[in-house]
């Protein structure tokens, strides 16, 4: 109970569809994708049904309940919390064996539970499943559901609100030596929160969190028993326990599920093609090209359309309205607002939205983990493994979730390399919008592509360099490859909205306020103390107008704000058309520096939280230095021609 409210947590292995089910159950939107590890933090929401309120938590996926990784730790902590009244174990009907093993662990710990078997619709195509028999064997309520079609979701909500979750009497019996050891440990356990047998099994497994939770003497006994077991059996006790769980699980699945379709399906063949290098690499290149080409063409098309609509509907009326009401000052303020609206509309809607729609489709098909297999070897040159590919792709949208996804990586070294690469070499959607929307528009698309090439080259140099410079730690790929599935339009649009709504609710007000402040500051020449002293950088090294420094500074807040600022700065010098404010080469240098330099505030905050202040400063300093160096170099080269 928490604030007098019945509280339940969704627990399940990665990619069984906890987040989709959570969204279905609660109506609260959580991002879900077709690969493991989409959820790295937990969400909560309240469901009301027939007058009963239940609070539900969506937890990150865990393969087991051993606290092996940070995620497992979070889940273990959460279900150990006395406030949690019930656990909903979410199983995958198409992969029952593994799901049941996790279910055994929850049962063993004596937690009341309901088993929700997700993807029931998917499973029906391949198997006959006897859920009643499963319920009888496991002695807990079993509800077949599908987060995709919403079947069974009402029933699950009912079961939850009526408090039907219960402790099971089902028990996995281990081999005699293990049972003997378990009994031995139970004899030494004093008062504990969890089921005694469950705790004893965890101690035999050598689970750290549980070892720390019992008396040192008991922990010592368990350690001796584990050693004895290993000596006698030539196998560690945790492997033996897992082996028994899987053999029980396999036996149950054999009893309740029969395969009806064994054909090699079209999906399997497609999946095969995506993974085999000879066909997979061309597919990967095609997907990458498709991503950029769609963004550029659709993006610039939409950009023009939106600008046209805005011009015909609003035109100069905002500025005129300002001039009408407040003279020169009013006009300046309204010009700022006008610029902000334009920046958001012409950048966010065309480029950022299009990107997120494509990303959503890629995520939901399950294509990304297959690309991971292809790029694994290349990534090893950078001291990373293929798994790093997914945060990088996510980083093309926004660095914040990309760096949060880095959390699933265990080694510090890998975290640092990947974070640096994402911050510097992977342009986020706002940076992409600058590259295509500004550089592409004012310098030409050749220049925009040149920036991408520079970023790619920087990634190679930086990756190889960091890999050599940082102390070696092994890095290994072990990642689940989900079945391919057709993306649902609803989920893709929902995710896209969820990801771009920040631009409207956070970026837009910031931009309006920021641009008004800047406008006022500029009209009273308040910013000269920054512009003057730093002109050696802007004018001397980068060859840009001195006032552009303000765009760089504001860009630290949010990258897309720099664009709005650029228009205002240009206006303050009396130039109304951006195209005549800087030359094509200058726009290129501006875009290049913007693409590499300094993570935005939100990114800095998340790097700080995930890695600590030292790394944050290191990554920021490295990115500023690199950006200035490359920008200066580009300026010199362009001037030479």
């Amino acid at each position: 109970m928490q604030d007098g409210m019945f509280t339940a947590a969704l627990v399940g292995q990665p990619n069984v569809g906890k987040s989709s089910l959570f969204t279905r159950l609660t109506g609260v939107g959580v991002i879900s994708s077709n690969y493991a590890g989409t959820t790295v933090t937990f969400e909560e929401a309240v469901v009301t049904r027939k007058g009963n309120k239940v609070r539900i938590y969506d937890l990150p996926g865990t393969y087991g309940m051993s606290g092996n990784s940070d995620d497992e730790e979070v889940v273990l902590e959460m279900v150990r919390d006395p406030d949690i009244d019930s656990v909903i174990v979410v199983a995958d009907a198409t992969n029952l064996q593994s799901s049941l093993v996790l279910c055994f662990e929850v049962i063993e710990l004596g937690l009341p539970l309901i088993l929700a078997v997700n993807k029931a619709d998917e499973a029906r195509k391949k198997y006959d499943t006897d859920y009643k028999e499963l319920e009888r064997i496991l002695d807990v309520p079993v509800v077949p559901v599908s987060a995709k079609t919403a079947e069974g979701v009402d029933e699950l909500a009912d079961a939850l609100c009526e408090g039907r979750g219960r402790r099971s009497t089902f028990q996995v019996r281990y081999e005699p030596h293990l049972e003997e050891a378990i009994d031995n440990i139970i004899g030494h356990l004093k008062k504990i929160r969890f089921d005694q047998r469950g705790t004893a099994v965890k101690l035999m497994e050598g689970t750290k969190t549980f070892i720390e939770g019992v008396m040192p003497a008991t922990a010592e006994i368990a350690s001796v028993l584990r050693d004895n077991f290993e000596r006698e059996h030539n196998e560690t006790s945790d492997i033996a326990i897992a082996r028994e769980r899987y053999s029980v699980s396999d036996a149950i699945v054999r009893k309740v599920q029969t395969r009806t379709q064994t054909k090699f399906s079209r999906k399997d063949r497609l999946s095969e093609m995506m993974i085999t290098p000879s066909t997979g690499i061309p597919i990967l290149i095609a997907v990458g090209l498709m991503l950029f080409v769609t963004m550029i063409f659709l993006g610039s098309l939409l950009d023009e359309a939106v600008s046209y609509v805005y011009d015909t509907l609003i035109g100069n009326s905002l500025a005129d309205f300002g001039a009408d009401k407040g003279g020169e000052m009013g006009r300046a303020i309204m010009l700022g607002i006008d610029g902000s609206i334009r920046a958001i509309l012409t950048l966010v809607i065309p480029y950022i939205m299009v990107f997120y729609i494509i990303l959503g489709v890629l995520e939901d098909t399950g294509y990304l983990p297959r690309a991971v297999v292809l790029v694994d070897r290349t990534m090893h040159h950078f001291g990373l493994h293929g798994g790093a590919f997914i945060p990088m792709i996510v980083g093309l949208g926004c660095n914040v979730p990309a760096i949060m996804a880095v959390r699933t990586i265990r080694s510090r070294r890998e975290k640092l390399i990947l974070t640096s690469l994402i911050v510097m070499c992977v342009p986020c959607s706002a940076q992409i919008a600058i590259i295509f929307g500004i550089v592409g528009k004012y310098s030409g698309f050749i220049y925009a592509f040149a920036i991408l090439i520079v970023l790619l080259a920087l990634m190679v140099v930086l990756g190889l360099g960091l890999n050599r410079f940082l102390k070696y730690e092994p890095s290994n790929l072990a990642m689940e490859i989900p079945d391919l599935s057709a993306p649902s339009l609803k989920n893709v649009l929902f995710k896209t909205w969820n990801r771009i709504k920040d631009f409207f609710v956070i970026a837009f007000p910031l931009l309006v306020v920021g641009s008004i402040l800047l406008e006022i500051a500029l009209s009273y020449s308040l910013m000269d103390f920054v512009i003057g002293p730093l002109s050696f950088l802007t004018v001397g090294m980068l060859g840009l107008p001195a006032a552009v420094i303000l765009a760089f500074i504001v860009g630290v807040l949010r990258k897309e704000m720099a664009v709005g600022m650029l228009a205002i700065i240009a206006a303050s010098t009396g130039i109304m058309e951006l195209a005549s404010f800087m030359g094509p080469e200058q726009f290129f240098v501006f875009g290049l520096v913007m693409a590499i330099y300094m993570p935005c505030l939100a990114t800095i905050a998340v790097i700080w939280r995930e890695m600590g202040w030292k790394e944050t400063i290191a990554v920021s300093a490295l990115s500023i230095g690199t950006a200035i160096a490359i920008g200066t170099l580009a300026n010199w080269i362009l001037m030479a021609f």
């Binding site: 087991g64 051993s66 593994s98 196998e235 769980r245 095969e272 072990a478």
Partner: protein, 221 residues
């Protein structure tokens, strides 16, 4: 090939005396088996006719590779049965030894492997209860392979996991790479690229180092 119980006793005894290296003297064998040196000579002639030993006058009998393999399998069966009788059925060790001695001749390879799994001895290792480990360890039945050495379309059953880092072992276990489960290798391009492995109904990508920690007993088909 059918080999009589009596001959099997000789093979196992030669193995015990030589551990696969060098020769067993006729007199030593006679002592161990409680028979006359003459009967030993007789039997050794028969065994060398079967191709299990080579015999040199005055120097004794040496196991051929085939004989060594056969004898080791027998000895392992003996150990498995002995462990089963003492650990699971709670018999005292003397009785267990006598009974295991009879059982070693009749139990099939497959049943022995199954019993081995119940009592939890990794199938490919020679038995830990041997007084001295065989130097050239060829296991009972099939030999396990590292997962990264398997090829596309290969199937098998996980026999054990071997890795210095317990965290990695735990990770593999939690993903379902557990002894006794069946695996199948899916498409993979380059030799050193990641392996796509199906275990149960789930498919994983493991890079070759990760895959090298998983030992698999390949199945024939």
């Amino acid at each position: 090939m059918m080999v009589s119980d009596n001959r099997e006793d000789y093979l196992i005894e030669i193995l015990r005396l030589t551990e696969g290296e060098g020769r067993a003297k006729t007199n030593d064998l006679a002592d161990k088996l409680g028979v006359s040196p003459a009967s030993v000579s007789e039997m050794i002639k028969a065994l060398s006719g079967d191709g299990f030993v080579t015999y040199t006058k005055y120097r004794g009998a040496e196991l051929t590779p085939e004989g060594l393999n056969y004898a080791k399998q027998l000895r392992k069966k003996h150990h498995i049965m002995e462990r089963f009788l003492t650990d699971v059925l709670d018999l005292d060790s003397d009785t267990a030894h006598v009974e295991a001695h009879k059982m070693e001749h009749v139990i099939s390879d497959d049943s022995a492997i199954r019993i081995c799994r119940i009592i939890g001895t990794p199938v490919d290792d020679d038995c830990s209860s041997c007084e001295s480990q065989c130097r050239a360890a060829t296991g009972l039945g099939r030999i396990s392979k590292k997962l990264n050495e398997m090829r596309q379309g290969d199937r098998g059953c996980i026999s054990h996991l071997k890795c210095e880092d317990p965290k990695t072992v735990k990770k593999l276990i939690s993903m379902g790479f557990v002894p006794g489960r069946d695996v199948c290798i899916g498409s993979n391009g380059s030799r050193s690229g990641p392996k796509v492995v199906t275990v149960g109904n789930a498919t994983f990508a493991l890079d070759s180092e990760m895959a090298s920690f998983v030992y698999v007993e390949p199945s024939d088909d």
